[in-house]
Symmetry: C3
Subunit: 116 residues, 3 copies
């Protein structure tokens, strides 16, 4: 039986789940009252924090699925994203428009290597 490590466990979800050297987590902005630029910046910072918790970092991203409430926010997302991703270490990335809870502009589903 391979170990599963869960951090930040609530009844509904865990903040991060690690299994077989791979981490799974989902981020929305902690402060959805911010505009899309603020929410993207906040999520990217939250991802850094999650990865630090397990001794990983943003050079170890494998795949990121991005849901935008409005695809026209793509240029703002990409501006912040491109300056955040470490050169030479970009993950596979999908970005589509989907319905998010009121106020939320972006949600990211992250898969990352759990070591660094």
């Amino acid at each position: 039986m391979s170990e599963i490590r869960r951090i930040g466990v609530t009844q509904r979800w865990s903040d991060i789940v690690v299994h077989n050297g791979t981490a799974h987590f989902v981020e929305v902005a902690d402060e959805p009252q911010q505009n899309v630029r603020g929410q993207v910046a906040q999520i990217l910072t939250q991802i850094d924090g999650r990865l630090a918790t397990i001794g990983s970092n943003r050079t170890r991203l494998l795949q990121v699925l991005i849901y935008l409430a409005d695809l026209s926010d793509g240029p703002i997302l990409n501006e912040l994203w491109d300056s955040w991703v470490p050169q030479g270490n970009a993950p596979a990335r999908a970005c589509v428009q989907a319905g998010l809870s009121p106020g939320y502009r972006v949600e990211m589903v992250v898969t990352a290597a759990a070591d660094a």
Copy 2:
């Protein structure tokens, strides 16, 4: 070459695929004529069945991506979900609104540990 185990294989999809200790599967309600409450309950039962097939169980969920046809069904989803997830073992979870085939109210993409 690492083994891939496929169960319930059709020409279009497999009911469950296991590789490197991780299981991948997707569930919609077997009976889409049911309302959203019935569909959610059915999917959660179907997940239990899939996991049992590979000797796993709902304490071993890693990540669940939930697509709702209507985000306003979120409270019903959460009510059933919260009482189904074993305390202390919640997976990472995303939930967004997307277009589903006629009649379907919810679809879940599940990643789980393949042992228990």
Copy 3:
């Protein structure tokens, strides 16, 4: 530290990322001016190419998440998909409608075994 292999790395994404024997990649049609039939055919060919790059092939697919700009394109998708997937080797598959960038009719998020 487990190795991560990235191929086709840009500042925004990598064409394919391999870690722990699993490959992650996302495909949209290289020529979005094609109609949905052309785009699906092109994506399936692109997937073959990506898998060949890492010494894998379409019998090693684990999970495919398909985003259609219009669910009514499902029959065309399924026709091409069913004749492309090798019998007995279908992956887990989800297919939902989501908003894609202008002109794009389909986007696929692929998880595959990295050896063959």
